[in-house]
Symmetry: C2
């Protein structure tokens, strides 16, 4: 039974596989005895950030709220997994600096061409047609992390392989047994 | 070492002693080995609800956010203590119904005359002078709980006595040892 909390912060484009990976890794961590909460972008917007839009300012507020809650959980022994796009580097680095538990940033690095072709939610097609404004990667910036703890290439490898990369890092750092 | 999380939800007028009692009870719970987080009204507004005002709608949104976070913590074994005025009965009852851990509502029942005379933050004087709008108890409603788990009379008894009332209830319910 592991009692050590940490923040596992996924960042990447819409459709890159953050939620899928969060669920997959979260399930395995639970099997290992960890307490786990997944703070998914859409669910958190509903519960913490209804009314906020997608301007840089509103996105940053939303991400700070997720970070605040993730930190509260992590410092109490819970593994907080976040799966929001979190496109801006500065606010991610701010949360890392404030964290009172280990902060593990995972860059879910799938090329725009790949996620746009998959277009799971149909958002890229809408963005290209001008029906969705402020689409990250299309009409809004995405700032990749400069020194993420883990990089996973979800456009090239199955979810199991990406998860194994993450567990390998977590084991190396002594965060999982 | 207790691992059982629950929500300890204080409600009452501004100046009734919610934060003082939350700190006092929180400290004792920590000494007993519980994990404790205090979600204080002002701190939570800063981190989760900046930009919201004091209309019924905005207050309800703020309280729902506190409830969402309190529940996340409580279901992971943390004692979440909230200390926001939370003037509206319906949203408190909604959070109680949704809670995935024990939900203990503590009515911090100090008469308006008493808290207004103390006026710790100077808000009542400002409200009477028309400089603070939507002051609970003065120009905004406060709906006392109909069936709170605990009632403490902070206008008549010292904080130790109010805390003992709360611990007595928690022991009876098996939430503390």
């Amino acid at each position: 039974m592991a009692e050590r909390g940490f923040v596992l912060w996924f960042t990447g484009l819409s459709g890159a596989g953050k939620s899928t990976l969060a669920e997959f890794v979260g399930k395995r961590l639970k099997e290992l005895g960890h307490k786990v909460e997944i703070l998914d972008g859409d669910e958190v917007r509903e519960n913490l950030s209804k009314g906020l839009g997608f301007s840089k300012e509103d996105r940053d507020i939303n991400i700070r709220r997720i970070g605040f809650v993730a930190n509260l959980l992590a410092r109490n022994g819970v593994v907080s997994i976040t799966a929001a796009i979190s496109p801006y580097r500065e606010v991610r680095d701010e949360l890392r600096a404030k964290a009172q538990a280990a902060f593990v940033e995972v860059f879910v690095d799938a090329p725009l061409a790949v996620v746009e072709q998959r277009d799971v939610k149909g958002l890229y097609a809408k963005a290209r047609a001008g029906k969705v404004a402020q689409m990250t990667g299309v009409s809004d910036p995405y700032e990749p992390p400069l020194k993420p703890e883990v990089v996973v290439k979800t456009g090239e490898e199955p979810v199991e392989a990406s998860a194994e990369r993450i567990f390998s890092y977590l084991r190396g750092r002594g965060l999982v047994g």
